[in-house]
Every structure is written in structure tokens, then in C-alpha cells.
């Protein structure tokens, strides 16, 4: 069990975190026809937008209430109303997802109350558009918590609480922020191959998968449909992925009675086996052939890859659930987690990280812990530290702005785990040429 060590420095040096409202906005992007609206001064939105666009290599619909000096003094309710109405009129979104920022939260504004008032007063104008609030001050949490709060808010605001007919084929899947577009597609295909009918929330695989619509779209295009969210109560079972998805899963259960199972990670043979068993039980079906084949391929990859990974020292920095997901996987392949750094200290997942300590900190903490590591695992901002230390970098998480295709990388289930092994082993091989192979070594012995 890892001990969580909190931050003692007064300055964060090379932040690891991206902010909580950004995480919430990211989640709202997984709902069809949505637009996230950051409630605060304009700069916050501009930064979040630029960062999301750099990560996805996509245009990102994101809006701001543009709180100015006056609004900072008298409060932001008017700006909020103006923003909602103007967005509604111009882009006709089906969902406006409001993410609060530090400036409104530090003023202690009752944004939820403000939105209730606006909805009441402007009921007619707002027909056909849901307005949802996630309280996400920047001085708290990070991406993961923002994501979790936004999903919870969407469920609480839209899922129909009344008793619904439960369709035995329908399941709800609540993926964490750390699943890529490819992961979500793969999850869906796998569930479908068991004959199940999954509703995935949020589903960033529509809007952020790099497809090219014919028209310019000012709102998200693809993702979970609002109607599907309303009908979540008709699912038999909910599967939450990542500790941070417990909160939305619980909200769903409270509201509709749909029970949930939680998987902290879907990477690594054992975790995936458990998941497949659940799917088989729910569907009462034999495991399909392609899934069985994938498992064999993973076993093979584990056999091939393990020797490159055994005993390797890994320094890893990420949000709590991704930290758990990857460190758990590395440890299962015989590597050692030499350093673990994370963004916030509240997640239960941290205790399960297979390292002595988990440091709540920044990339300079990682850098000071990673000098002797064989591999650094973190997002693109880690590139400078990796260069300075001369340790190779495996890029994971957010933001990833200096590599293409991060969203098309598979990291979960048998196939994803296999791909992660390949990735990992290739980086290690490229940087530490393996011991000479058998042919080579005889030559050497002779020449010595």
C-alpha cells in the first residue's frame, strides 16, 4: 500500500496538472450536440481551448462567459445568462455544460442557483437545450475530478429518475478521462460482440476522432445522445472504469437504482479477465472467438516482452487513476515503480499504487526522483525533464501535443494491454539495446 506524500513546496515548478474546469469541459465534449461554457474570465477559456486543440489536433467548441472587471465586482449571473442565450440562439446546442472557474468560485457565487433562475425565467427560449453545471474551481482537483463532476452533473440533470423497464441487453459504461477514442471504440465493439447494447457516457469517440464533417460545426458532433442519457435508467447494469467514476455511477444508482461495478483499470491481463467474466455473466454468452484470440495474443506479448521489462525502474507521473492503471500494469510485468507522482491527493486509487510512496506534486518532483530511472512515463510536458536526465519518455495522458495519434492508441482490454507492452518494450529497446542475442554473443566470446 502506497503512502501518499503531500506537497511541501510553495511553488509548483513545471506543473503536472491541467485544471479541473478543463477536465469538465473535456467530458462535456463527449455528449452529442454539446458546448462547454467556462464561467469566468476569458483567458481561462482561451488557454483551455488552445491546450485541448493542441492535444486533439482538432477544433474544439468551447465558450466563455468572459467575466470582465465589472462582472468580477457585481457577480457573473448576467454574463452567464447572456452567454447561455447567445449560445442557444447562434448554435442551437442540445446541451450547454457550464464549468465554473476559480474567479466565480472564489467569490462564492451560487452558480447552480443562478442557472435555475435563468432556466425558469427563460424557459421558452431554452426549449430543447439542457443546461448543466459542474462546480469546478481551479484551486481544487485536476482533470480527473473535473471530468467526474461533469459526468455526475449530466446524469443528475438529465437521467430520468422514474422506474423504467430494464432492458436485459442494455448496459451503461462510464469510462474515465484516461480512455482514448480508440479505447472507447474497442470497449463498444467488445460489449457488442457479447450481444450487449452499451450506452457509453461520455463518448469522446464521436467528436474527437478526427473525422471531417461537410459543414462547419460549432458544437460537438457525435458522442452520447441526450436521449440515451435520459434513458440510462433502462440499463441492467452500469460499469464504471476508474475510481473517479464511482461518483457518477453512484449518482446513477441513487437516481435510477441501476447497480454498478467498478473497475479501477482495464489494462493488464487479470483486470481484463475480470471484466470479460462480467460481460459473459451479464450477457449469458460464451466469450466470442475474437476476444479469445486477443487474449492469446496478449499472453504471447507478455512472454515476449517481459524480459525487457523485468527489473526496469519506472518513474511515472499522472492523474491518480491513470497512475494506478499504468503502475499496476508495469508492476504486473515485473518492473519496479521507482517514483510515482500525481496531481491531487484525495483519490482512493492512490493507496493501491504499487509503489512505496506517491508524491502529490509537479514535474520537477518527478525529475528529482527519476534520475536513476530507465523510463519516464508522463505527458508531453515531461519532455524537458526526460531530455535533461537522458532518460527515455513514454508519453501518456494529457496533454500530448508533440505526438500524433494519441487518441488512436489502444490501452485497454487484451489488445490494448498488448499494444502498451509493445510500446514500452520498443522504447526500452531503442534506448538500451538488449544484451547481444545468442548468435552475437558466441562471436563475442571468441573474439575476447
Amino acid at each position: 500500500m502506497a503512502r501518499v506524500v503531500s506537497q511541501t513546496k510553495s511553488a509548483a515548478v513545471n506543473p503536472l496538472k491541467s485544471s479541473q474546469p478543463l477536465g469538465a469541459a473535456f467530458a462535456f465534449l463527449g455528449v452529442d450536440g454539446a458546448i462547454p461554457l467556462l464561467h469566468g474570465s476569458q483567458g481561462c477559456t482561451s488557454f483551455a481551448l488552445a491546450l485541448l486543440a493542441r492535444h486533439f489536433n482538432e477544433a474544439i467548441p468551447l465558450q466563455t462567459t468572459a467575466m470582465n472587471e465589472a462582472a468580477i465586482i457585481v457577480g457573473g449571473a448576467d454574463r452567464l445568462e447572456e452567454a447561455i442565450l447567445s449560445l442557444k440562439a447562434r448554435t442551437r446546442p442540445r446541451l450547454i455544460g457550464i464549468c465554473t472557474t476559480a474567479s466565480v468560485e472564489a467569490r462564492d457565487e451560487d452558480v447552480v442557483g443562478d442557472v435555475e433562475n435563468i432556466k425558469r425565467r427563460r424557459a421558452i427560449e431554452l426549449v430543447g437545450t439542457e443546461v448543466v453545471v459542474a462546480n469546478t474551481p481551479d484551486f481544487d482537483g485536476a482533470i480527473e475530478e473535473g471530468w467526474s463532476k461533469a459526468v455526475t452533473a449530466v446524469i443528475e440533470a438529465t437521467a430520468r429518475p422514474d422506474k423504467q423497464y430494464r432492458n436485459p441487453r442494455k448496459i451503461a459504461i462510464l469510462p474515465g478521462w484516461n480512455l482514448t477514442v480508440a479505447d472507447i471504440e474497442h470497449l463498444r465493439e467488445t460489449a457488442v460482440s457479447f450481444g450487449l447494447d452499451p450506452v457509453i457516457l461520455p463518448d469522446v469517440s464521436g467528436a474527437l476522432d478526427g473525422s471531417i464533417p461537410e459543414e462547419w460545426m460549432p458544437i460537438t458532433n457525435g458522442g452520447t445522445k441526450l436521449q440515451e442519457i435520459r434513458d440510462l435508467g433502462a440499463t441492467m447494469q452500469c460499469i464504471a472504469i476508474g475510481e473517479h467514476m464511482r461518483r457518477p455511477a453512484e449518482a446513477l444508482q441513487r437516481l435510477t437504482g441501476v447497480p454498478y461495478v467498478l473497475f479501477r483499470s482495464l489494462t493488464g491481463l487479470e483486470n481484463v479477465d475480470r471484466f470479460i467474466r462480467v460481460l459473459a455473466a451479464m450477457s449469458r454468452k460464451q466469450t466470442p472467438l475474437n476476444v479469445r484470440r486477443n487474449r492469446m495474443q496478449l499472453q504471447d506479448a507478455m512472454l515476449d516482452g517481459h524480459s525487457h521489462m523485468a527489473g526496469k525502474k519506472i518513474a511515472i507521473a499522472s492523474e491518480p487513476d491513470q497512475l494506478f492503471q499504468l503502475s499496476n500494469f508495469f508492476a504486473a510485468m515485473g518492473a519496479e515503480i521507482a517514483a510515482a507522482v500525481t496531481t491531487t491527493g484525495t483519490s482512493k486509487a492512490l493507496e493501491m499504487v504499487p509503489a512505496k510512496t506517491v508524491k502529490v506534486g509537479d514535474l520537477s518532483d518527478l525529475e528529482s526522483l527519476a534520475a536513476m530511472a530507465d523510463l519516464i512515463v508522463t505527458h508531453s510536458h515531461g519532455r524537458e525533464a526526460a531530455r535533461r536526465l537522458g532518460v527515455p519518455l513514454m508519453r501518456v495522458g494529457f496533454p500530448m501535443f508533440d505526438r500524433f495519434g494519441s487518441q488512436h492508441k489502444l490501452t485497454v482490454l487484451y489488445r490494448g494491454t498488448r499494444d502498451v507492452i509493445f510500446d514500452f518494450a520498443n522504447i526500452i529497446q531503442a534506448n538500451h539495446p538488449p544484451n547481444p542475442g545468442p548468435l552475437d554473443s558466441t562471436d563475442r566470446r571468441e573474439s575476447q
Partner: protein, 473 residues
């Protein structure tokens, strides 16, 4: 957080009355000239502008005082280049938590952070930036910086530009104010020369100022301070001993230039190193100002010789691109600060401008663009992505030049696009730069991917294909 709330509200009012008191109504109106409307647009905040304008000072530690988002979401996103120190690329923020804010610990935390940075990184100076929340809760960074300066015998410079006071442009100006108030003039240089100049508003993106500097060196002109691109703290602090100045990005530091002229009698002009005639003109005017201030008059003659040589060389090199680019239609959406100089440069190589945004341009800039283009309806203000998308198609643009934020508008329209803002990977300044720009535009327009991505899918019915062909024709 109710106790906090009371404190905040006082702070807001204090802040508000102080601001409106310190500036005339005219100044205030100018700052608010183009307020952001909620729900219609996204642009950088004043803090963004201030940081952009100062961060390329390379041996300074830039410390952002606020909760995480301001710095955490924005660091490491610009391509300025440094010939030496790398400290400016390390990101520092006080990353305030709720507890710091509620308990009123934030100023103390800031002071400690300054000490940690001084001890751990030995910077030439520390710049401290306020942000929305810290300004709101009434943190007095001036006082903290003053105390730190005294205690650590290290320049600690407050930059008061919290996001909510206005746009990025205003932030640029406030950054200039901070330099004027706390930095420039605080250090006397050892050997001031008659040919020392300042370049203001040059960011050295992708190292492009290094394409210009050698030209100046050949003329015996020394750049005492290029602010902010690749600058050192001491250079900025002694910039008041230069004999002349040029402002490059006209909105960023023109006020600073004007005030330096008033205070230290440093004459300046607004120029540009984009385009052939722009570069030549800039060199001539620098020489001219220096001679007027007492430099050897032969400088003028030497400048003419250099200009003639370089221009001949560059035209020769451009010959290769002319036939490939002549008549190609460009839409410019640069945020305006560089529009006139880029417009000019592109026209020089025979391209046709089918539109340019002037949303952040000064009035003078606008006039310049108007005169160059001779047609007013080619100028547009800020535009929604959808409008921009249709404009591209309507005006049959062959390429869009813009910043990274709007790139997908062009790419999703399956049109070539070239980054000419801060994230770009190529240097476009000086004579060398225009050749590079031509080359990059050529590569973008003539890339074989365009016909391929526009090809209809095998399953698209012939009717749709025909329709689209008609629309595109």
C-alpha cells in the same frame, strides 16, 4: 467561504475605484474598446498578454501567482528561441489551493515561493504575475515583491495584469508599464555606444530575429536590448542608454517606446522585418535615427550598399517561386498585429490577398492595410469560425495563413493552411525570412495531399460528387 467573500467584495471595490480613479475616462474607454461578449468569442486575457510579452526574457524566473489554471494550462506553448539561458522555459506557479485562499495564506505562500526559486534556480530576476483570483482577494504583489527585493537583494518585479482587466493587448501594455516602472533604467551599462539600439516587441519566434541581427552587425549597429526576444535581464535594465529604438509588433510595446522617448530621449519608429521592402525600410530608418543622434553619417551610405546587395540576392532567390505563387489567393487571419506587414510581403511575391482580419490592429495599422490593399471590404473584424469557413470557400482561397487556433477551419475545409503565429516552426523575418515564407506557402499549396483528400469516397453516388464539383467550381 463566507469570510472570504466579505474580504473579496471589499477588495473588488477597492480595485474598481482605484482603477477608475487612476485613469481618465478616455483611457478606460480605449481599454474597453472591444469588450468580449459572453458566449460569442474566446480570446486571451490580460495576464496572457503580459506573460507573452515578458516571458522570452530568458534568464528571469517567471512566477505566476494564482490557482493552477492560469499557468498549468498555458505553459510551454510558445516558440520563442533563446541563445543561452533556459530558465524562462521552467514554469513556476504558486498553484494556490482552496485552503490558501480561504485562510488568507496566499501572500505568505508567494513570498516563500520567491525564496525557493531564488535558492533553487539563481535567476537574474523574478517576475511575479498576478491573476484573477489573487487580484480579487486583494493580494498586494507590489508589497510582497518590494519586501522580497530588499530581503534577497534580487530584483523581484510585480506584473499587475490580472486576466479580468481586459484583453491580451491590454496585458501587453501593462507588461510594458511594469518594465518601465521597475526594470528599465535601473542598471547603467559599462560601455554605451553611439550605435546602440533597442528593438521592442520582437519575440524571436523560431529564432527569426537571428536572421536580422547579423545585418545590423554588419552595419556596426548593436542591439542593446531586444525586448522581449532572447533578452537578458541586464540588457533590459540598461535599455535606457540606447540611442534609438524600433517597435516591431505595433500594439505590444508602442506605449513603452513612447514613454522611453519622453523619459530618456530615445527616438523610435514603428517598422517591420517582414517582407523585402519592410526590412530595407527598417534598416534605413534605424540608420537614419542613429545618425541624427550623432552616429557617423557614413552609416547611411553603408546601409544603402547593404540593402542593395541583399535585395538583389533575395529577388534572385524568389524568382524560383514567383511562377508557382503568382495569382494564388490568400486569406489572412493573423489576429491583426502583423497583418499589414505580412500583406505587403505577400503582395511583393505576386500573391493576391482575398481578405485579412484587422481585429487587433491599431488604427494606424488599419490605414496601412487599407492603403496597401486599396479595397476596404477585404478587411474584416473578428469572425466566427462558421463565417470564416464560408468566407474561405466563397472567396476561393488557395490558402489560409493564421494562428494555430483557426487552423482546423481551413483544414476541415480541405484547404492548405500555414501557421504564421507563435507556434509556427519557421522563421519569416528579414530577407531570409521572405524566401522561407515563399517556400512554405509553395509547399503547402502544392502538396499532393490536396487532390487526394478532396477525392470522393468510392461509395459516394455520382450525383453528390457532381453537386460538390459544381459548388467548388
Amino acid at each position: 467561504m463566507s469570510s472570504l467573500n466579505a474580504k473579496n467584495k471589499d477588495a473588488f471595490h477597492a480595485l474598481a475605484s482605484e482603477r477608475s480613479g487612476s485613469k481618465g475616462p478616455k483611457a478606460r474607454r480605449r481599454n474597453c474598446a472591444r469588450p468580449m461578449a459572453p458566449g460569442t468569442a474566446v480570446g486571451g486575457c490580460a495576464f496572457d498578454g503580459a506573460k507573452v510579452a515578458l516571458q522570452p526574457i530568458t534568464d528571469v524566473a517567471h512566477l505566476i501567482h494564482g490557482p493552477l489554471a492560469c499557468e498549468g494550462n498555458s505553459w510551454d506553448n510558445r516558440g520563442a528561441a533563446s541563445s543561452g539561458p533556459t530558465l524562462w522555459r521552467t514554469s513556476f506557479t504558486t498553484d494556490l489551493t482552496e485552503i490558501d485562499i480561504v485562510m488568507g495564506h496566499s501572500e505568505r505562500r508567494l513570498f516563500k515561493a520567491i525564496r525557493e526559486i531564488k535558492d533553487g534556480y539563481a535567476p537574474a530576476a523574478i517576475f511575479v504575475y498576478s491573476t484573477c483570483v489573487t487580484a480579487m482577494i486583494g493580494d498586494d504583489i507590489d508589497v510582497v515583491c518590494k519586501r522580497a527585493t530588499d530581503e534577497f537583494a534580487l530584483p523581484v518585479v510585480p506584473v499587475n495584469a490580472p486576466g479580468f482587466v481586459g484583453s491580451k493587448n491590454l496585458g501587453n501594455k501593462l507588461a510594458g508599464e511594469a518594465l518601465l516602472k521597475h526594470v528599465i533604467g535601473t542598471v547603467e551599462p559599462d560601455e554605451p555606444g553611439l550605435c546602440d539600439i533597442n528593438i521592442l516587441g520582437e519575440f524571436n519566434l523560431s529564432g527569426e530575429f537571428w536572421q536580422v541581427k547579423p545585418l545590423l552587425h554588419r552595419l556596426g549597429i548593436r542591439v542593446r536590448a531586444c525586448i522581449p526576444g532572447d533578452a537578458r535581464y541586464l540588457q533590459v535594465a540598461s535599455a535606457h542608454r540606447s540611442r534609438a529604438a524600433m517597435t516591431v509588433c505595433s500594439t505590444a510595446f508602442v506605449t513603452l517606446a513612447r514613454k522611453m522617448q519622453e523619459r530618456w530621449d530615445i527616438p523610435f519608429f514603428e517598422g517591420s522585418f517582414y517582407g523585402i521592402s519592410g526590412t530595407s525600410e527598417a534598416l534605413r530608418r534605424i540608420a537614419d535615427l542613429l545618425v541624427k543622434k550623432g552616429a557617423d553619417p557614413s552609416l547611411l551610405h553603408r546601409t544603402e550598399i547593404l540593402v542593395a546587395e541583399e535585395e538583389e540576392k533575395v529577388w534572385k532567390r524568389l524568382e524560383a517561386y514567383r511562377p508557382r505563387l503568382e495569382g494564388k489567393r490568400v486569406l489572412l487571419n493573423t489576429g491583426g498585429v502583423k497583418s499589414w506587414s505580412v500583406v505587403h510581403a505577400l503582395m511583393e511575391i505576386g500573391m493576391e490577398i482575398v481578405g485579412t482580419s484587422v481585429k487587433k490592429s491599431t488604427l494606424e495599422d488599419r490605414e496601412r492595410v487599407k492603403q496597401t490593399l486599396k479595397e476596404e471590404n477585404l478587411l474584416f473584424e473578428s469572425m466566427s469560425p462558421r463565417e470564416l469557413f464560408s468566407l474561405l470557400l466563397e472567396r476561393k482561397a488557395d490558402i489560409m495563413l493564421s494562428g494555430g487556433r483557426t487552423q482546423y477551419i481551413a483544414l476541415k475545409a480541405k484547404l492548405p493552411w500555414l501557421d504564421i503565429n507563435q507556434e509556427r516552426h519557421h522563421a519569416y523575418a528579414g530577407y531570409e525570412g521572405i524566401v522561407q515564407l515563399a517556400r512554405q506557402i509553395d509547399l503547402a499549396i502544392h502538396n499532393p495531399v490536396w487532390p487526394q483528400v478532396r477525392e470522393p469516397a468510392p461509395w459516394e453516388p455520382a450525383l453528390v460528387v457532381e453537386k460538390r464539383a459544381k459548388r467548388e467550381a
